[in-house]
Protein backbone atom coordinates (compact mmCIF):
# COMPACT_ATOMS: atom_id res chain seq x y z
CA UNK A 1 0.00 0.00 0.00
CA UNK A 2 2.76 2.35 0.94
CA UNK A 3 4.63 1.44 -2.25
CA UNK A 4 1.63 2.35 -4.34
CA UNK A 5 1.37 5.64 -2.50
CA UNK A 6 5.01 6.47 -3.17
CA UNK A 7 4.84 5.41 -6.80
CA UNK A 8 1.71 7.43 -7.43
CA UNK A 9 3.21 10.43 -5.64
CA UNK A 10 6.29 10.20 -7.86
CA UNK A 11 4.16 9.89 -10.99
CA UNK A 12 2.04 12.82 -9.88
CA UNK A 13 5.19 14.80 -9.26
CA UNK A 14 6.50 14.08 -12.75
CA UNK A 15 3.17 14.94 -14.32
CA UNK A 16 2.93 18.19 -12.38
CA UNK A 17 6.51 19.07 -13.32
CA UNK A 18 5.79 18.45 -16.99
CA UNK A 19 2.61 20.46 -16.82
CA UNK A 20 4.13 23.42 -15.10
CA UNK A 21 7.05 23.71 -17.52
CA UNK A 22 6.78 27.19 -19.00
CA UNK A 23 7.78 27.96 -22.61
CA UNK A 24 10.95 29.58 -21.32
CA UNK A 25 11.83 26.43 -19.34
CA UNK A 26 11.39 24.28 -22.44
CA UNK A 27 13.61 26.47 -24.59
CA UNK A 28 16.24 27.02 -21.92
CA UNK A 29 16.57 23.42 -20.74
CA UNK A 30 17.01 22.15 -24.29
CA UNK A 31 19.54 24.79 -25.27
CA UNK A 32 21.46 24.10 -22.05
CA UNK A 33 21.39 20.38 -22.82
CA UNK A 34 22.85 20.95 -26.29
CA UNK A 35 25.39 23.56 -25.17
CA UNK A 36 26.62 21.26 -22.43
CA UNK A 37 27.47 18.67 -25.08
CA UNK A 38 28.97 21.25 -27.42
CA UNK A 39 31.32 22.72 -24.83
CA UNK A 40 32.52 19.33 -23.65
CA UNK A 41 35.64 18.48 -25.65
CA UNK A 42 35.51 14.83 -24.61
CA UNK A 43 32.25 14.22 -26.43
CA UNK A 44 32.83 13.17 -30.06
CA UNK A 45 31.14 15.02 -32.91
CA UNK A 46 28.76 12.15 -33.67
CA UNK A 47 27.44 12.17 -30.11
CA UNK A 48 27.04 15.93 -30.28
CA UNK A 49 25.02 15.59 -33.45
CA UNK A 50 22.89 12.89 -31.85
CA UNK A 51 22.08 15.12 -28.90
CA UNK A 52 21.15 18.04 -31.12
CA UNK A 53 18.85 15.76 -33.08
CA UNK A 54 17.36 14.37 -29.87
CA UNK A 55 16.59 17.88 -28.58
CA UNK A 56 15.03 18.79 -31.93
CA UNK A 57 13.00 15.60 -31.96
CA UNK A 58 11.30 16.19 -28.64
CA UNK A 59 10.91 19.96 -28.56
CA UNK A 60 9.78 20.78 -32.07
CA UNK A 61 6.25 20.29 -33.30
CA UNK A 62 7.11 18.76 -36.69
CA UNK A 63 3.52 18.12 -37.71
CA UNK A 64 2.70 21.80 -37.13
CA UNK A 65 5.87 22.98 -38.86
CA UNK A 66 5.17 20.84 -41.95
CA UNK A 67 1.59 22.11 -42.09
CA UNK A 68 2.71 25.72 -41.87
CA UNK A 69 5.51 25.33 -44.40
CA UNK A 70 3.15 23.65 -46.88
CA UNK A 71 0.68 26.49 -46.36
CA UNK A 72 -2.12 26.45 -48.93
CA UNK A 73 -0.77 23.23 -50.42
CA UNK A 74 -1.27 21.34 -47.16
CA UNK A 75 -4.80 20.26 -48.04
CA UNK A 76 -4.07 19.68 -51.71
CA UNK A 77 -1.51 16.88 -51.32
CA UNK A 78 -2.13 13.27 -50.29
CA UNK A 79 -1.51 12.20 -46.67
CA UNK A 80 1.31 9.90 -47.84
CA UNK A 81 3.09 12.74 -49.59
CA UNK A 82 2.64 14.94 -46.54
CA UNK A 83 4.12 12.24 -44.32
CA UNK A 84 7.07 11.89 -46.65
CA UNK A 85 7.53 15.66 -46.75
CA UNK A 86 7.36 15.93 -42.94
CA UNK A 87 10.03 13.26 -42.47
CA UNK A 88 12.36 14.67 -45.10
CA UNK A 89 11.92 18.25 -43.97
CA UNK A 90 12.66 17.23 -40.40
CA UNK A 91 15.85 15.47 -41.40
CA UNK A 92 16.86 18.44 -43.54
CA UNK A 93 16.28 21.04 -40.80
CA UNK A 94 18.02 18.88 -38.20
CA UNK A 95 21.10 18.76 -40.42
CA UNK A 96 20.99 22.48 -41.18
CA UNK A 97 20.81 23.43 -37.51
CA UNK A 98 23.20 20.73 -36.32
CA UNK A 99 25.83 22.33 -38.56
CA UNK A 100 25.05 25.73 -37.12
CA UNK A 101 25.25 24.49 -33.54
CA UNK A 102 28.50 22.63 -34.19
CA UNK A 103 30.13 25.94 -35.06
CA UNK A 104 29.47 27.12 -31.50
CA UNK A 105 32.47 29.04 -30.21
CA UNK A 106 31.59 30.46 -26.83
CA UNK A 107 28.66 32.71 -27.73
CA UNK A 108 26.47 33.61 -24.81
CA UNK A 109 22.71 33.38 -24.65
CA UNK A 110 20.64 35.85 -22.68
CA UNK A 111 17.02 34.96 -22.08
CA UNK A 112 14.39 37.65 -22.14
CA UNK A 113 10.69 37.71 -21.53
CA UNK A 114 8.17 35.07 -22.48
CA UNK A 115 4.72 35.97 -23.75
CA UNK A 116 1.85 33.55 -23.42
CA UNK A 117 -1.56 34.01 -24.99
CA UNK A 118 -3.82 30.96 -24.84
CA UNK A 119 -2.01 28.02 -26.37
CA UNK A 120 0.59 30.17 -28.14
CA UNK A 121 3.73 31.66 -26.72
CA UNK A 122 6.94 33.36 -27.71
CA UNK A 123 10.28 33.46 -25.93
CA UNK A 124 12.80 36.25 -26.53
CA UNK A 125 16.53 35.60 -26.47
CA UNK A 126 19.73 37.24 -27.54
CA UNK A 127 22.82 35.56 -28.83
CA UNK A 128 25.88 37.54 -27.86
CA UNK A 129 28.83 36.82 -30.11
CA UNK A 130 32.39 36.81 -28.82
CA UNK A 131 32.73 40.21 -30.51
CA UNK A 132 29.90 41.58 -28.36
CA UNK A 133 27.37 41.75 -31.17
CA UNK A 134 23.80 40.94 -30.22
CA UNK A 135 21.59 38.79 -32.39
CA UNK A 136 17.92 38.74 -31.37
CA UNK A 137 16.21 35.34 -31.53
CA UNK A 138 12.56 34.59 -30.90
CA UNK A 139 11.11 31.09 -30.44
CA UNK A 140 7.43 30.58 -31.11
CA UNK A 141 5.69 27.81 -29.22
CA UNK A 142 2.38 26.00 -29.23
CA UNK A 143 0.79 23.96 -26.42
CA UNK A 144 0.13 20.35 -27.38
CA UNK A 145 -1.36 17.96 -24.81
CA UNK A 146 -0.16 20.22 -22.03
CA UNK A 147 3.40 20.43 -23.39
CA UNK A 148 4.97 23.44 -25.03
CA UNK A 149 6.56 22.71 -28.39
CA UNK A 150 8.53 25.04 -30.68
CA UNK A 151 7.09 25.62 -34.14
CA UNK A 152 9.06 28.59 -35.41
CA UNK A 153 12.37 30.33 -34.82
CA UNK A 154 13.03 33.92 -35.81
CA UNK A 155 16.64 35.05 -36.10
CA UNK A 156 17.06 38.79 -36.58
CA UNK A 157 13.42 39.01 -37.55
CA UNK A 158 13.71 36.30 -40.20
CA UNK A 159 11.16 33.59 -39.58
CA UNK A 160 12.25 30.11 -40.58
CA UNK A 161 8.69 28.97 -41.26
CA UNK A 162 7.90 32.06 -43.31
CA UNK A 163 11.04 31.76 -45.39
CA UNK A 164 10.46 28.09 -46.22
CA UNK A 165 6.75 28.58 -46.87
CA UNK A 166 7.38 31.20 -49.54
CA UNK A 167 9.96 28.94 -51.21
CA UNK A 168 7.80 25.82 -50.95
CA UNK A 169 4.87 27.65 -52.51
CA UNK A 170 7.11 28.70 -55.38
CA UNK A 171 8.58 25.25 -55.97
CA UNK A 172 5.24 23.40 -55.73
CA UNK A 173 3.59 25.87 -58.11
CA UNK A 174 6.34 25.35 -60.67
CA UNK A 175 7.39 21.73 -60.20
CA UNK A 176 4.65 20.14 -58.11
CA UNK A 177 5.03 18.32 -54.78
CA UNK A 178 7.16 15.62 -56.43
CA UNK A 179 9.60 18.25 -57.62
CA UNK A 180 9.87 19.58 -54.09
CA UNK A 181 10.39 16.11 -52.59
CA UNK A 182 13.14 15.48 -55.15
CA UNK A 183 14.96 18.68 -54.11
CA UNK A 184 14.61 17.74 -50.45
CA UNK A 185 15.92 14.21 -51.02
CA UNK A 186 18.94 15.58 -52.85
CA UNK A 187 19.65 18.07 -50.05
CA UNK A 188 19.38 15.46 -47.31
CA UNK A 189 21.66 13.10 -49.24
CA UNK A 190 24.28 15.82 -49.58
CA UNK A 191 24.26 16.41 -45.82
CA UNK A 192 24.68 12.70 -45.20
CA UNK A 193 27.75 12.57 -47.42
CA UNK A 194 29.39 15.56 -45.74
Amino acid sequence: MRKIAIVSAVILGIVVAAWSETPLDVVKSNIDYVLEALTNKKIPVEEKKRRIREAFEKTLDWEKIATLVLGIHNRRITPEKKKKFTLLFKEFIENVYANKFLRYSGEKIVYGKQFISGNRASVNMQLITTKGQRIPIVCRLIKRNGKWLIYDVMIEGISMVNNYRIQVNNVITKKGIDGLLKILERKVKRYKKA
Binding site: L68, G71, I72, V96, G112, K113, F115, S117, G118, R120, A121, S122, N124, Q126, K131, G132, Q133, R134, P136, V138, R140, M154, E156, G157, I158, S159, V161, N162, N163, Y164, R165, I166, Q167, V168, N169, N170, V171, L180, I183, L184, K187, R190
Partner: protein
Protein backbone atom coordinates in the same frame (compact mmCIF):
# COMPACT_ATOMS: atom_id res chain seq x y z
CA UNK B 1 40.11 66.99 -20.47
CA UNK B 2 38.02 66.88 -17.33
CA UNK B 3 34.76 67.94 -19.02
CA UNK B 4 35.41 65.31 -21.62
CA UNK B 5 35.51 62.55 -19.00
CA UNK B 6 32.46 63.97 -17.29
CA UNK B 7 30.58 63.88 -20.56
CA UNK B 8 31.51 60.26 -21.24
CA UNK B 9 30.58 59.27 -17.71
CA UNK B 10 27.21 60.97 -17.78
CA UNK B 11 26.30 59.45 -21.13
CA UNK B 12 27.18 56.02 -19.78
CA UNK B 13 25.04 56.57 -16.74
CA UNK B 14 22.07 57.52 -18.90
CA UNK B 15 22.53 54.56 -21.18
CA UNK B 16 23.07 52.00 -18.46
CA UNK B 17 19.75 52.98 -16.95
CA UNK B 18 17.93 52.93 -20.23
CA UNK B 19 19.40 49.62 -21.38
CA UNK B 20 17.11 47.67 -19.07
CA UNK B 21 14.29 48.60 -21.43
CA UNK B 22 16.00 46.97 -24.36
CA UNK B 23 14.20 47.04 -27.67
CA UNK B 24 14.68 43.34 -28.33
CA UNK B 25 12.70 42.31 -25.29
CA UNK B 26 9.24 43.16 -26.55
CA UNK B 27 6.50 40.87 -27.75
CA UNK B 28 6.77 39.79 -31.34
CA UNK B 29 3.30 39.93 -32.80
CA UNK B 30 1.53 37.82 -33.53
CA UNK B 31 2.10 34.89 -31.23
CA UNK B 32 -1.57 34.13 -31.65
CA UNK B 33 -3.47 31.89 -34.02
CA UNK B 34 -4.42 32.95 -37.52
CA UNK B 35 -1.22 34.45 -38.82
CA UNK B 36 0.11 31.11 -40.00
CA UNK B 37 -2.62 30.45 -42.50
CA UNK B 38 -2.21 33.68 -44.38
CA UNK B 39 0.76 34.62 -46.50
CA UNK B 40 2.72 37.43 -44.99
CA UNK B 41 3.55 40.54 -46.95
CA UNK B 42 6.41 40.09 -49.35
CA UNK B 43 8.83 42.03 -51.50
CA UNK B 44 7.33 43.48 -54.70
CA UNK B 45 9.41 42.25 -57.61
CA UNK B 46 8.30 43.68 -60.96
CA UNK B 47 11.83 43.33 -62.40
CA UNK B 48 12.06 39.64 -61.56
CA UNK B 49 13.55 38.46 -64.90
CA UNK B 50 16.27 41.10 -64.77
CA UNK B 51 16.90 40.46 -61.07
CA UNK B 52 17.18 36.73 -61.70
CA UNK B 53 19.72 37.39 -64.42
CA UNK B 54 21.86 39.44 -62.04
CA UNK B 55 21.29 36.92 -59.28
CA UNK B 56 22.92 34.30 -61.49
CA UNK B 57 25.74 36.67 -62.40
CA UNK B 58 26.34 37.40 -58.71
CA UNK B 59 26.22 33.69 -57.90
CA UNK B 60 29.06 32.99 -60.34
CA UNK B 61 30.91 36.09 -59.23
CA UNK B 62 30.65 34.91 -55.64
CA UNK B 63 31.94 31.38 -56.18
CA UNK B 64 34.56 32.19 -58.79
CA UNK B 65 35.91 35.58 -57.70
CA UNK B 66 34.65 37.13 -54.46
CA UNK B 67 34.80 34.21 -52.07
CA UNK B 68 38.24 32.96 -53.20
CA UNK B 69 39.54 36.53 -53.09
CA UNK B 70 38.11 37.10 -49.60
CA UNK B 71 39.57 33.82 -48.36
CA UNK B 72 42.95 34.71 -49.81
CA UNK B 73 42.78 38.12 -48.19
CA UNK B 74 41.72 36.43 -44.95
CA UNK B 75 44.84 34.26 -45.05
CA UNK B 76 47.14 37.25 -45.47
CA UNK B 77 45.44 39.57 -43.01
CA UNK B 78 44.69 38.01 -39.59
CA UNK B 79 41.15 38.12 -38.27
CA UNK B 80 41.78 40.53 -35.36
CA UNK B 81 43.23 43.03 -37.84
CA UNK B 82 40.24 42.65 -40.16
CA UNK B 83 37.91 43.15 -37.21
CA UNK B 84 39.74 46.31 -36.27
CA UNK B 85 39.47 47.58 -39.85
CA UNK B 86 35.75 46.87 -39.71
CA UNK B 87 35.43 48.60 -36.33
CA UNK B 88 37.35 51.60 -37.60
CA UNK B 89 35.13 52.19 -40.62
CA UNK B 90 31.99 51.44 -38.68
CA UNK B 91 32.99 54.09 -36.16
CA UNK B 92 33.90 56.49 -38.96
CA UNK B 93 30.38 56.24 -40.41
CA UNK B 94 28.77 57.11 -37.05
CA UNK B 95 27.63 60.64 -38.09
CA UNK B 96 25.37 59.14 -40.77
CA UNK B 97 23.74 56.88 -38.19
CA UNK B 98 23.31 59.73 -35.73
CA UNK B 99 21.53 61.83 -38.37
CA UNK B 100 19.22 58.93 -39.19
CA UNK B 101 18.46 58.29 -35.54
CA UNK B 102 17.57 61.97 -35.25
CA UNK B 103 15.37 61.78 -38.36
CA UNK B 104 13.57 58.80 -36.82
CA UNK B 105 13.18 60.56 -33.46
CA UNK B 106 15.00 57.68 -31.74
CA UNK B 107 16.66 59.80 -29.09
CA UNK B 108 17.58 56.95 -26.76
CA UNK B 109 19.38 55.20 -29.60
CA UNK B 110 21.00 58.49 -30.53
CA UNK B 111 22.36 58.95 -27.01
CA UNK B 112 23.65 55.38 -26.92
CA UNK B 113 25.25 55.62 -30.32
CA UNK B 114 26.90 58.90 -29.40
CA UNK B 115 28.24 57.34 -26.21
CA UNK B 116 29.52 54.43 -28.32
CA UNK B 117 31.27 56.86 -30.63
CA UNK B 118 32.93 58.70 -27.75
CA UNK B 119 34.07 55.52 -26.04
CA UNK B 120 35.37 53.82 -29.15
CA UNK B 121 37.08 56.90 -30.51
CA UNK B 122 38.93 57.49 -27.22
CA UNK B 123 39.40 54.23 -25.30
CA UNK B 124 38.99 52.24 -28.51
CA UNK B 125 41.87 54.14 -30.16
CA UNK B 126 40.18 55.93 -33.04
CA UNK B 127 37.57 53.20 -33.37
CA UNK B 128 39.95 50.30 -33.96
CA UNK B 129 38.50 48.47 -30.97
CA UNK B 130 34.99 48.14 -29.63
CA UNK B 131 35.12 48.57 -25.84
CA UNK B 132 31.61 50.06 -25.96
CA UNK B 133 30.08 46.70 -26.89
CA UNK B 134 32.44 44.64 -24.75
CA UNK B 135 32.46 46.60 -21.52
CA UNK B 136 29.66 49.14 -21.55
CA UNK B 137 26.76 47.13 -22.96
CA UNK B 138 26.46 49.42 -25.98
CA UNK B 139 26.18 47.16 -29.03
CA UNK B 140 26.29 48.35 -32.63
CA UNK B 141 23.26 50.12 -33.96
CA UNK B 142 22.23 49.86 -37.56
CA UNK B 143 20.37 52.86 -38.86
CA UNK B 144 20.38 54.13 -42.41
CA UNK B 145 18.28 56.34 -44.65
CA UNK B 146 16.51 53.33 -46.18
CA UNK B 147 15.20 52.51 -42.72
CA UNK B 148 14.34 56.15 -42.05
CA UNK B 149 12.23 56.17 -45.22
CA UNK B 150 10.65 52.91 -44.03
CA UNK B 151 9.81 54.48 -40.67
CA UNK B 152 8.13 57.30 -42.58
CA UNK B 153 5.90 54.71 -44.21
CA UNK B 154 7.61 54.39 -47.57
CA UNK B 155 7.64 50.85 -48.97
CA UNK B 156 10.38 49.12 -50.94
CA UNK B 157 8.61 49.90 -54.26
CA UNK B 158 10.61 47.17 -56.04
CA UNK B 159 13.30 44.62 -55.34
CA UNK B 160 16.66 45.17 -57.04
CA UNK B 161 19.43 42.60 -57.05
CA UNK B 162 22.35 44.81 -58.08
CA UNK B 163 25.27 43.24 -59.88
CA UNK B 164 28.14 42.86 -57.39
CA UNK B 165 26.30 44.73 -54.61
CA UNK B 166 23.50 42.20 -54.21
CA UNK B 167 19.99 42.52 -52.71
CA UNK B 168 18.46 45.96 -52.31
CA UNK B 169 15.30 47.81 -53.28
CA UNK B 170 14.38 51.11 -54.88
CA UNK B 171 13.86 52.61 -51.43
CA UNK B 172 17.07 51.24 -49.95
CA UNK B 173 19.14 52.22 -52.97
CA UNK B 174 17.85 55.78 -52.72
CA UNK B 175 18.71 55.55 -49.01
CA UNK B 176 22.27 54.44 -49.74
CA UNK B 177 22.83 57.35 -52.11
CA UNK B 178 21.25 59.78 -49.65
CA UNK B 179 23.40 58.42 -46.83
CA UNK B 180 26.61 59.30 -48.65
CA UNK B 181 25.38 62.92 -48.91
CA UNK B 182 24.77 62.91 -45.16
CA UNK B 183 28.30 61.70 -44.50
CA UNK B 184 30.82 64.44 -43.60
CA UNK B 185 33.62 62.31 -45.07
CA UNK B 186 31.97 62.49 -48.48
CA UNK B 187 32.74 66.24 -48.51
CA UNK B 188 36.31 65.82 -47.26
CA UNK B 189 37.58 63.49 -49.97
CA UNK B 190 37.08 63.07 -53.70
CA UNK B 191 34.14 60.96 -54.86
CA UNK B 192 36.46 58.20 -56.08
CA UNK B 193 38.27 58.08 -52.75
CA UNK B 194 34.92 57.82 -51.04
CA UNK B 195 33.87 54.94 -53.29
CA UNK B 196 37.23 53.27 -52.59
CA UNK B 197 36.68 53.64 -48.82
CA UNK B 198 33.24 52.04 -49.16
CA UNK B 199 34.64 49.24 -51.32
CA UNK B 200 37.43 48.43 -48.84
CA UNK B 201 34.94 48.51 -45.97
CA UNK B 202 32.48 46.21 -47.74
CA UNK B 203 35.10 43.75 -48.96
CA UNK B 204 36.75 43.59 -45.54
CA UNK B 205 33.34 43.00 -43.94
CA UNK B 206 32.59 40.30 -46.49
CA UNK B 207 35.88 38.56 -45.62
CA UNK B 208 34.71 38.20 -42.00
CA UNK B 209 31.85 35.97 -43.08
CA UNK B 210 32.56 34.77 -46.62
CA UNK B 211 30.43 31.62 -46.40
CA UNK B 212 27.14 33.30 -45.55
CA UNK B 213 25.75 33.30 -49.10
CA UNK B 214 26.84 29.70 -49.63
CA UNK B 215 24.98 28.70 -46.47
CA UNK B 216 21.82 30.51 -47.53
CA UNK B 217 22.03 28.70 -50.83
CA UNK B 218 22.58 25.26 -49.25
CA UNK B 219 19.63 25.81 -46.94
CA UNK B 220 17.27 26.98 -49.66
CA UNK B 221 14.89 25.14 -51.99
CA UNK B 222 14.80 28.19 -54.24
CA UNK B 223 17.85 30.38 -53.53
CA UNK B 224 16.56 33.41 -55.44
CA UNK B 225 13.27 33.50 -53.52
CA UNK B 226 15.02 32.73 -50.23
CA UNK B 227 17.53 35.56 -50.59
CA UNK B 228 14.82 38.03 -51.61
CA UNK B 229 12.65 37.04 -48.67
CA UNK B 230 15.52 37.09 -46.19
CA UNK B 231 16.42 40.59 -47.35
CA UNK B 232 12.80 41.69 -47.06
CA UNK B 233 12.21 40.23 -43.58
CA UNK B 234 15.56 41.51 -42.32
CA UNK B 235 14.88 45.07 -43.48
CA UNK B 236 11.32 45.00 -42.11
CA UNK B 237 12.70 44.02 -38.72
CA UNK B 238 15.28 46.79 -38.83
CA UNK B 239 12.57 49.34 -39.61
CA UNK B 240 10.45 48.01 -36.73
CA UNK B 241 13.30 48.30 -34.21
Amino acid sequence: MRWWLALILSVFLITSFSSTYAAWNVEVPPASEGFEESFNASMPDPFEPLNKFFFNVNDKLYYWVLRPAAKGYGKVVPKPVRRSIDNFFYNLFTPVRLINELLQFKFKKLAKDFARFLANTTIGIGGLFDPAAKWFNLPRENEDLGQTLGVYGIGHIAYIDWPLLGPSSVRDTAGEIGDSFLDPIFYMVTTWTYIAIEAVYEFNKFSLNPDQYDEIKQEAFDPYISLRNIYFQYREEQVRE
